[in-house]
Symmetry: C2
Subunit: 395 residues, 2 copies
């Protein structure tokens, strides 16, 4: 057995990891815009990159290393995604790391970027960070700020896992994202570090599972960026490990990060779980759940706190899955809002529905009534603020 404790702070809590963030003048404010994660010992790496066909230069650069390479240094910048910049974009990263070698000796350094697409990095500005960094710092707060774009709050988490044997290890991460996934700027980035002595095969298995159950189940605007990255770095320095404990801690961490992104969804006010059950199979449940969390009409109705179930039913119908007017049931939390025998909302149920919709967070449960397929995804409402943020970006 094991216990998972939530600690204050972030990556600084993990043995052997240093981090920092500084401002080099890319953000117009004095906010941090470049940061790093460094490990005293070489790290195994497991990573999930965007499925976008146009992968950004940092991803192309990463893939040039041999399979199963190890690293001890990760550089991260905001404001510029270094995407659609061609071979020059990769050469720029190589030049940046050439210059880094004048400051500190690192092995197989990697980079990650977020921001506007289509502009080359300002090498002078980026490398000016090397003068300013404290490479032995444990400033996870400044790192977390350095990777923010439209995020309205920094996102870091730290767990300490204590095993019954008395051994323990740490897992901590930093994340950014406020649109899911907002190509021109609000890419989702997540870096998790651990001192657990975890085998590489477990890293791969658990990162896939945890990503699938978290970031792949949220939608702010249904877009997939050129830079999306979820990375797990382990240096093994704690010398302890437990499979189930690590798995649970990682699942919990990525799910919490995903909910943070939704809560910070551009202009969003509400976090909604779209729980679909009773579908023919899990694929049909997934199709319905994702259609609901992506529907503009559902999202604007949530913003307007309108208990009209018609938009939900219509969106389900538009997916073409197996379901009938007679078999369908819709609930807001525990309140039955539509069934074959209860179609029009009476005043009592309408008022109870209004109250639920005023909450910051609630469930929309759709029971298709034809099988046992289930799937839950998470979404948010669509407000004026979303349009404002995305119309005015860059200018």
């Amino acid at each position: 057995m094991f216990n998972i404790f939530s600690l204050k702070g972030g990556i600084s809590n993990v043995q052997g990891f240093c981090c920092d963030g500084v401002n080099v003048g890319m953000k117009s404010s004095q906010d941090e815009d470049v940061g790093f994660i460094r490990s005293e010992a070489l790290c195994d790496i497991s990573v999930r990159f965007t499925t976008n066909r146009f992968q950004a230069s940092p991803i192309i650069h990463f893939k040039k290393y041999p399979k199963d390479f190890k690293t001890n240094f990760l550089l991260i910048n905001s404001k510029n995604a270094n995407a659609m910049t061609g071979e020059k974009g990769v050469e720029d990263i190589e030049e940046i790391f050439n210059r880094l070698s004048n400051y500190i000796s690192v092995e197989n350094p990697i980079m990650s970027s977020t921001g506007v697409i289509g502009y080359r990095l300002d090498i002078e500005k980026i490398t000016s960070s090397f003068e300013k960094f404290d490479f032995n710092a444990k400033n996870s707060d400044r790192l977390a700020r350095a990777i923010m774009t439209t995020d309205s709050f920094k996102k870091e988490l730290s767990f300490r896992v204590e095993l019954d044997s008395g051994d323990s290890f740490n897992i901590a991460g930093v994340c950014k994202g406020a649109g899911m996934i907002n190509p021109a700027m609000a890419t989702m980035l997540c870096f998790v570090t651990t001192d657990a002595k975890i085998p590489k095969s477990d890293m791969e298995e658990f990162l896939s599972e945890a990503t699938e159950k978290s970031f792949n189940r949220i939608s702010v605007d249904g877009d997939t960026s050129t830079n999306d990255t979820v990375m797990l770095l382990s240096n093994g320095l704690s010398n302890s490990y437990n499979r189930e404990a690590f798995r649970e801690a990682l699942n919990r961490m990525l799910f919490e990060f995903a909910m943070m992104i939704l809560k910070d969804g551009e202009g969003a006010n509400k976090l909604i779980a779209f729980e679909v059950k009773g579908a023919k199979d899990s694929l049909e449940a997934e199709r319905v759940s994702r259609a609901l969390s992506n529907s503009l009409l559902v999202k604007t109705a949530l913003f307007g706190e309108d208990p009209n179930w018609g938009r939900i039913a219509s969106t389900i119908g538009a997916t073409g899955v197996e379901c009938s007017e007679e078999s369908l049931k819709i609930y807001y939390d525990n309140l039955l809002i539509y069934s074959d025998t209860q179609r029009e909302l009476d005043r009592d149920r309408e008022e109870r529905a209004y109250k639920i919709m005023k909450r910051d967070s609630f469930k929309i449960i759709c029971d298709l009534g034809v099988g046992s397929g289930e799937f839950t995804s998470y979404g948010c409402d669509l407000s004026y603020e979303y349009v404002k943020i995305n119309a005015e970006y860059r200018t």
Copy 2:
């Protein structure tokens, strides 16, 4: 050869067709909310209904008639979609037509509805229209107003086709829609009438083709309503017909209606053609074109008049079609905005791009550079007003 002339007015111009619209108190204003189309002679019918799994009661009622039935009467109401109302919804239509028989003798009457989902029709209000209608009127203007919901202008068109032989026929229609397609209210409805002596098989062929090239190529919000209907009624009273002339007139009419819907897109200010070429095949071209016209990020960038091509490129990449950073070219009208050798926007091109984006209407041309597949779809920007209309609807 033939000539197609555009006439003022609408369905009233077609031989043998009467129409009218009245207010029965469903719209809070004094605006018309129920209308009819009546033909002196029985009409052949060709129709395309929504692919939504939950088809509204008027559609279920229509499908109860035998194949190839003819009609001379169509009743249309706004404010209530009569959708998700079950068997009762169909019985309500039957009761309405029972009462109609006290006023006028009709054959195989059909109904069409648009508005909120999930409420039964108010039979008393609907049938009170029968007292108010002039069944011999030619009031296409009032009919066009009666079917409006969030539309900000009425949509009717009338063409007169003159053949070299001296013969002529008319084709005229009425349409509504301001979201494409907005399940809870802004369903797309289109009714076209003609006095051409057109064979039923041509009606089917041409209505499919014209719908495919028009309504199936526009997107306001990517939703598919429970009530969408495109219908062609022909009474043959002109006794004249020409295959190519009719085909061209119908294609032109449905395309003009589709552009009217986009221009009236809820809160939209711009009409954009997303012209994709150079794709591996036409299916991949279609996938890209539709992804662009549905992307929230592209739509908000259009509203913000931001010439950032990064969102367009990223949306193309997210579709996973065959394309590379090197092969891709993006144009705004004739202005090359991205190519392998011209990535960052210089000030001159950026200013020219701004000017194009300030127009009410322009093309975004994406040449994927890998084949000869082509597809064009049409979309609009996403403004604060869209959120407002859809958040506040019903209340």
